[in-house]
């Protein structure tokens, strides 16, 4: 049995070697404008040759992109699309024409880059980034995946590892040492996963450089993660882990690395913009819909933390307080109706509460049996929104009982 075991040891060694040589280390070179693009793996406007594995990946993605164009949850708002596309172009520089942006209405924080340059941004992300520099951080990260050609790198890595695994399984089965084979397959699977995390580290690094190149303040980058960590820590039920974290390096590690890198960039005397007004002008008109989607997930503790952070930022606080009230009214636990009413009062005294505020106030009065106050709030709702879709039902509810 000696020789099969020897062969096995070599195979394990080979597996470990391929797994560990892929680690990405950010360079400690001083910041140089345009360096990330100069070192990129693919040149602008380049399509892979038809007989390559990369062309195969592009082909598959092009078909998926057809479906994306007609997706029911594709956000078609022209102003928002033009804005996100514009920021993407600023960050992508010479690669602007290679990247196509699709905004999907999904209430979670995520963005994805396909090998052929199709970039998907979820609305849950736009709800959570708070200025153009933070949005540029994520877009830069995704563009980093594109210019470093991570998809094809990862595909080749997975193909090599599954090939090794196949021959390895045959060898171990023949040698009658199946359990070692199982352990090794776990090792290979873990390294496939770890490899993608190295890609993420590299994309973080490239993203930070190109957002800074585009004139954004790199110190905004770690703030994105800090806010996500704060939101996740507030999650009492721990059942809704942020999707983006699942495949990415531990957020704390990422936060620290980004913070250090951003400070290093900033210490070279780099001055960058943040871009709050343009961001708010594009995102705020649609934010109510994004907040409604978020509430529909019924993950109240997380959403509460998110709303509190947004209220601290202070844009359209009336709208945010209204949705905080909605959260308590929907959760309907001990004391929640009072909390809701308190939030609604805050909303009334702040900027931009929607007319629906008074409908919600009326509903709480009804629950408490305060019919006079309920009628009064309902009529305020109808006065503010005379063509409301539910006006007939509201009038019916306003009629005295009996």
């Amino acid at each position: 049995m000696r020789s099969p075991r020897f062969a096995l040891a070599i195979l394990i060694a080979a597996g470990v070697a391929t797994a560990s040589c892929a680690t990405y280390e950010p360079s400690d070179q001083p910041y140089q404008k345009g360096a990330a693009f100069r070192d990129a793996d693919i040149a602008p406007a380049v399509h892979p040759a038809l007989d390559t594995d990369e062309a195969g990946l592009w082909m598959t993605m092009e078909e998926a992109e057809h479906d994306l164009k007609t997706a029911g949850n594709l956000v078609r708002d022209e102003a928002l699309n033009a804005y996100v596309k514009g920021v993407t172009c600023k960050v992508a520089g010479p690669y602007c024409a290679d990247i196509r942006v699709y905004i999907l209405r999904v209430p979670d924080f995520n963005a994805m880059m396909a090998p052929n340059g199709a970039l998907v941004v979820w609305t849950g992300l736009l709800l959570r980034t708070r200025n153009e520099a933070q949005l540029a951080t994520i877009l830069g990260h995704e563009i980093g995946h594109y210019i470093e050609r991570h998809s094809v790198e990862r595909w080749r890595d997975i193909r090599t590892k599954t090939d090794i695994l196949m021959f390895f399984s045959i060898a171990t089965s023949a040698a009658g040492v199946g359990y070692v084979g199982n352990l090794a397959s776990i090792g290979v699977l873990a390294s496939i996963y770890a490899y993608s995390r190295d890609n993420e580290r590299e994309a973080d690094d490239v993203g930070l450089k190109i957002m800074a190149d585009a004139g954004y303040d790199p110190r905004e980058a770690p703030k994105v993660w800090a806010r996500l960590i704060r939101e996740e820590e507030a999650d009492e039920d721990k059942k809704s882990r942020i999707v983006f974290f699942a495949t990415h390096p531990v957020p704390e590690e990422r936060l620290d690395t980004l913070k250090a890198e951003a400070e290093r960039l900033a210490s070279t005397g780099f001055q960058g913009g943040i871009g709050v007004d343009a961001y708010d002008a594009a995102v705020l008109p649609l934010r109510a819909a994004f907040l409604r989607d978020e509430l529909d997930l019924r993950r109240f503790s997380r959403t509460e933390a998110l709303l509190n952070m947004l209220i601290e930022d202070g844009a359209n606080v009336g709208e945010l307080q209204f949705y905080r009230g909605e959260l308590y009214r929907l959760r309907n636990g001990d004391g929640d109706l009072d909390r809701a009413m308190e939030a609604y009062r805050e909303a009334e005294n702040s900027d931009g509460p929607p007319p629906e505020l008074f409908r919600s106030i009326a509903l709480i009065h009804m629950k408490k049996g305060e019919s006079v106050e309920a009628r009064e709030a309902f009529s305020r709702y109808l006065a503010l929104k005379p063509d409301a879709e539910d006006r007939e039902m509201i009038r019916l509810m306003m009629e005295p009982a009996g």
């Binding site: 592009w58 082909m59 199946g178």
Partner: protein, 233 residues
């Protein structure tokens, strides 16, 4: 490694089961309605993808093979229809096309038919002796645009074993003394003919072969003739 053998065995069993019935056709009608003018059929954009089966069992999509297969299948279909005295008009994609939606509906309906008509365990009681799937009447716009009576949709996925896969197959065969066979490349797909007046699928055929090569015109002709088995006369 019991699990590997288990996977290998079940895959082999599946391969044997599926290859036993190479094609199976479901027809709603036997004869196309024809008037004096020659029959015109629109060939919708081919949903074809070729891939290489790696040693580890992954499918690697191949853009160059796919591009030539699309041309070969189209040419073979045009020939086959000409041989039947019918004319095949190739659909031309334009900007702002509703084509994508149509493809999605066709794919969803086609896959439903494959699952619920071809898998005995998954047959639907309400569809026991009927074949009434439809893409809906909106396809009528195609009838006017192409002056055609029917539309032909073709979906094919074809895979070829890589050198590594062949080596693995041989190794498994030798080590198991022929008891287990690693599945190799497969040609699967379906074709459906849609009546452009009603949107109803009037003919449907499944393609399932362990052999064949769509990368050359000659071999594509043979696959197309299998695909068109029992095509209404």
């Amino acid at each position: 490694m019991r699990r590997l053998w288990c996977v290998v065995v079940s895959a082999a069993v599946a391969a044997v089961l599926t290859s036993a019935c190479a094609t199976k056709t479901f027809q709603q009608i036997n004869t196309l309605e024809r008037d004096d003018s020659p029959l015109r059929v629109v060939l919708m954009p081919l949903d074809v993808q070729l891939s290489e089966l790696t040693a580890g069992g992954l499918h690697e999509p191949k853009a160059d093979w796919t591009a030539s297969a699309r041309v070969n299948i189209r040419d073979a279909l045009v020939e086959a229809f000409r041989g039947r005295g019918a004319e095949l008009a190739v659909y031309v994609e334009g900007p702002g096309d509703p084509q994508v939606r149509r493809d999605q509906i066709q794919l969803a309906v086609g896959q439903t038919i494959l699952v619920h008509k071809f898998q005995p365990a998954l047959k639907l009681p309400t569809k026991e002796n009927v074949f009434d799937w439809s893409l809906g009447p909106k396809v009528a716009s195609l009838r006017d645009e192409y002056d055609a009576d029917y539309a032909l949709f073709v979906f094919v996925r074809d895979s070829y074993s890589s050198g590594g896969r062949v080596a693995a197959t041989v190794l498994v065969g030798i080590l198991s003394m022929g008891r287990y066979i690693l599945p190799g490349g497969q040609q699967t797909g379906f074709a459906s003919l849609v009546d452009l007046d009603t949107g109803n699928i009037v003919w449907f055929n499944r393609l399932q072969r362990g052999a064949g090569d769509l990368r050359t015109l000659d071999a594509a002709r043979s696959s197309v003739s299998v695909l068109l088995t029992d095509f209404p006369k």
